[in-house]
């Protein structure tokens, strides 16, 4: 049996922000008032961040920030939308100090065009601003640099969600594409519903860190013939997400406004993170007595730089503090300790006792994990050790690299970051004999299992990407994307849970 300590630690560690936890706290046992203690906030939940140079226009940089995870396409009549009370932001550090140099703020405004219906739309929709749309959303994009604050667009339109074949036929061409909006500085923007491009076997990873392809090696060897064999099951299949996609000229985000050409130069690498902020409230006014209604400053409630840092490396008890902290303060706040001594790595010998041991698993700490140090200092984005940047949880991208560069040099929409990170955490880069195989348990020769076999078994999203901006694929529609997660028997042809 799995050790008890390990069990809870692991379950907690893998509780990603996308994976909603139950709210709790009994309310009305009687007169005293208990508000919920644990509160979900999917609208302010930053689920993924991508950054890649544009393949057709290499002078442009694409940044994609996704919010509101695990959306069911058939979520009517109250379809999920961006929140009017959240400031969504994309932050860029261009001089290596991990602090914001360029920030893009996205603020949304919802209007109820037709308050007399419970329906999202009262007729077929043929454009993003179709009169039959009852709930409309627009947004502004503001660019803030150290010198100025500039509104890049004031009333961009969020296209309606992909309701279904009757409401939204020809969705991409008629509704989504026309909502791509040009920006004042030569860029463009899209904000709206998309197919979530992320893919991972949530069901198995959650179940005590199990990787279905390695079922036989797990501490609790599950019979592989449980309906899925050893193939992974994508927990994001059928799920949509809300995307903010930004395309900007590279010269508009670099320090000094140039376009980098030398790969091994500090100035070629920018560090990016996305966030969501809500407004703080002062309960009492400044004199401490007279209550006030004024809302206060913006407080960061969610952030994302390097994928899965929050989900896999930050312990549950520190997540609120981590989400509140800016990447430039990661060191001061003590978060590198978690990042450079990953709990998952420490658990490998317990979870996969026939594969890992303390002898063949990297120990934690900066001195033992030069690979993770390289990850957080931009060295995996093409910088030599002499040009390493200060450590920070930022998605770093080298703007002099080719547009095809993939994670951890930026991140493409199709990158399999789960497999990459499992392999990195297990020590593929610190492998003493560099043969690509996990050493045997005494740490001397090869065990016969290559690091590349460490995989959740899910290699791609179930929805195709677009070949034009915003690149993130068409969202599944509510009529066809019938999800049978909730029922035991799935109709023929509908992918469902095994067994």
């Amino acid at each position: 049996m799995v050790s008890k300590k390990t069990g809870l630690a692991l379950a907690g560690m893998l509780a990603a922000t996308t994976f909603v936890s139950v709210g709790n706290s009994p309310a009305q046992a009687s007169s005293h008032r208990e508000a919920p203690a644990i509160s979900q906030d999917p609208q302010a939940d930053n689920t993924d961040l991508y950054a890649f140079r544009d393949a057709t226009d290499p002078g442009k940089l694409n940044i994609v920030a996704n919010y509101i995870g695990l959306e069911q396409p058939n979520g009517g009549p109250n379809f999920v939308r961006f929140s009017d009370d959240v400031n969504y932001a994309i932050h860029v550090d261009n001089n290596g100090d991990a602090a914001d140099d360029v920030t893009y703020n996205f603020r949304f405004r919802t209007t109820l065009a037709n308050p007399n219906t419970f329906l999202y739309n009262t007729g077929q929709l043929t454009s993003p601003t179709d009169p039959d749309l009852s709930v409309r959303q627009t947004y502004s994009v503001e660019k803030v640099t150290r010198k100025r604050r500039e509104v890049l667009v004031a009333n961009a339109v969020v296209p309606p969600v992909n309701v279904g074949v009757r409401s939204t036929p020809d969705y991409e061409a008629k509704i989504a594409k026309p909502a791509v909006t040009d920006l004042a500085d030569g860029g463009k923007v899209f904000a709206g519903s998309r197919k979530d491009p992320f893919f991972a076997d949530l069901g198995s990873i959650f179940d005590l860190g199990a990787l279905r392809p390695l079922n036989a090696f797990h501490l609790i060897p599950n019979p592989p013939n449980n309906g899925s064999g050893n193939t992974g099951i994508d927990g994001l299949a059928d799920k949509n997400v809300h995307t903010i996609a930004l395309q900007v000229p590279i010269s508009s985000v670099t320090d000094g406004g140039g376009t980098p050409t030398v790969v091994d130069a500090k100035s070629s690498v920018v560090g990016i993170y996305a966030s969501a902020e809500r407004q703080q409230v002062r309960i009492l006014s400044v004199d401490g007595q007279r209550p006030t209604k004024n809302a206060g400053r913006w407080v960061q409630v969610s952030r994302l730089g390097i994928p899965l840092v929050n989900e896999v490396l930050i312990p549950l008890g520190s997540k609120d503090r981590w989400n509140l902290t800016a990447p430039k303060d990661d060191g001061k706040a003590g978060f590198f300790g978690f990042i450079l001594d990953p709990e998952l790595t420490r658990l490998l010998p317990t979870l996969y006792p026939s594969v890992f041991s303390t002898a063949n698993t990297p120990r934690g700490g900066a001195e033992n994990r030069p690979d993770l140090v390289a990850l957080v200092t931009g060295q995996l984005a093409g910088l030599s050790p002499g040009n390493a940047l200060p450590p920070a949880d930022l998605l770093r991208i080298n703007l002099a690299s080719s547009p095809g560069a993939s994670f951890p040099n930026g991140r493409q929409l199709a990158d399999d970051v789960v497999d990459t990170e499992i392999q990195v955490l297990a020590g593929v880069f610190t492998d003493p004999d560099h043969d690509g195989f996990i050493n045997n348990k005494s740490g001397t020769g090869s065990s016969g299992i290559p690091y590349s076999a460490l995989s959740d078994g899910v290699q791609a999203s179930d929805g195709p990407l677009l070949n034009v901006f915003p690149y993130v694929g068409t969202p599944f529609d509510g009529y066809n994307a019938y999800s049978c997660d909730l029922v035991k028997t799935c109709p023929a042809g509908v992918p469902g849970p095994p067994g």
Binding site: N24, A29, K293
Partner: protein, 441 residues
């Protein structure tokens, strides 16, 4: 829905026969047995799905403490939704095992605090909450349960500081709702409604029950502010969020009482009590029937209160204070006062002061009553019930100006806060030369 709740009620009664062994007395041998709950497989409720999934995992591996914790939290959430106190007993069994194995885990500590709060073991709750805060500094759920414990223990300044800390760390439904309550206790109804509105917005897309909770609170704040249409809209929104949500139906009944239509309120409440047997609703039902002049039926509704409270007591929920307030109006006397004092000893909140004050008034100890009432109102609450008590006590002492000041708040907020007390409020107003405004339509 009906069928499932009927089953629940039956299981609740079965568990009454064997009360839970609790903290007092020698602890029994730790058991890892899981109190599995039969869940309707067709249910589409997220909480039922959480219960099913956690139970499935535990059936596979009893050592899966992650699943055990999720199941405990799902039971605590379901208790919010269906008002079945035996779910606390189920949660407790799971949490005792976890308390042994995972003593320092913040999530276990928060869940144990939630359970202690639900059972009105507030001192115990504060100890656990402090441990949770120490285990996870800056964690908002740990701070949230600490705020609740401090509030119920009457340590209002510390509660305020912890609430502000929550808001600084993470503005979300959990912190906005507590900010709202902090303002409400200080008499800032508009500020409280504004913060609750922020909670409602921040709760979109999250747990439906949690969002509905905030919507109901908003409705009640608007009702007390005299905005009846606003209250109606908030209660309706809560019902759209969480179908059949009992607190929202009870809110609609309160709005009907405020409109001077207690008979219609009673109709709603009879239905609410049949699906969610909570003492609070049985009392509201009795009050509405009494207000409608149907005394016999009111008496029968009040009789249910004792049976319901016995069930809660059997599942470890300490409700002395609530019963003592009920008793002050129904069967005042030394016994009721003693119960109030006993309740106050473990629950010395602002509300606790009010309950003791009202019981003192009923036995004629006016000076003491005035002191307790003032303590309950020391932050400036505009709660019409508390203000009515304060007005009656002040008038009893011959302090007409003070009585008029308190009663003015009642008239400005909601003079029909209790269907059973409408005539009493009118009498008090007449004695003070004041007039209760006619109900809004």
């Amino acid at each position: 829905m009906r069928r499932r709740l009927a089953v629940l009620a039956t299981s609740a009664l079965l568990l009454t026969a064997a009360p839970a062994c609790r903290g007092s007395g020698a602890p029994g041998p730790p058991s890892t047995a899981v109190p599995y709950l039969q869940v309707d497989p067709a249910s589409r409720s997220a909480t039922d799905r959480d219960i099913t999934s956690a139970q499935d995992r535990l059936r596979k591996d009893l050592a899966d403490d992650g699943a055990r914790l999720e199941l405990a939290n799902a039971f605590l959430q379901k208790a919010r939704e269906v008002a079945d106190p035996t779910l606390y007993t189920r949660a407790e069994a799971l949490l005792r095992t976890l308390a042994d194995r995972q003593a320092g885990d913040k999530r276990v500590l928060v869940a144990r605090t939630v359970l202690a709060l639900a059972r009105h073991e507030f001192s115990e709750a504060l100890v656990l909450a402090d441990r949770a805060v120490a285990a996870a500094p800056g964690d908002v759920s740990a701070l949230g349960v600490k705020v609740d414990a401090l509030t119920e223990l009457g340590r209002v300044d510390e509660a305020l500081a912890a609430t502000q800390q929550m808001l600084d760390a993470k503005p979300n439904l959990a912190s906005y709702t507590r900010a709202s309550y902090a303002r409400e206790q200080r008499g800032d109804l508009a500020g409280a409604a504004a913060a609750m509105q922020q909670a409602v917005i921040a709760g979109q897309g999250g747990s439906p029950e949690n969002l509905a909770f905030a919507q109901v609170q908003l409705g009640t704040l608007l009702l007390t502010s005299g905005d009846l249409p606003g209250a109606d809209a908030a209660y309706e929104a809560a019902l759209a969020t969480f179908a059949g949500y009992a607190p929202a139906r009870a809110g609609q009944a309160r709005a009907l009482v405020a409109r001077g239509r207690p008979a219609e309120a009673a109709q709603i409440l009879a239905e609410v009590v049949s699906v969610q047997p909570l003492a609070e609703y049985a009392i509201l039902l009795g009050d509405s029937l009494a207000g409608a002049g149907r005394q016999d039926e009111a008496t029968r509704a009040y009789e249910r209160v004792d049976a319901i409270q016995a069930l809660y007591a059997a599942n470890g929920v300490d409700v002395d204070l609530e019963l003592a307030l009920f008793a002050a109006d129904r069967r005042p006397g030394k016994a009721a006062l003693a119960q109030a004092r006993k309740g106050f000893a473990s629950h010395p909140s602002l509300f606790g002061h009010d309950v003791v004050a009202w019981n003192l008034f009923k036995v004629g100890q006016l000076e003491q009553a005035a002191k307790e009432s003032a303590a309950g109102l020391r932050l400036g609450s505009r709660d019409p019930g508390q203000r009515y008590h304060a007005a009656a006590i002040a008038l009893g002492l011959g302090q007409r100006d003070a009585a008029a000041t308190h009663l003015q708040v009642v008239l400005d907020t909601n003079p029909r806060f209790s269907a059973a007390l409408v005539a009493d409020v009118e009498r008090l107003a007449r004695d003070l030369g004041m007039v209760v405004p006619p109900p809004a339509s």
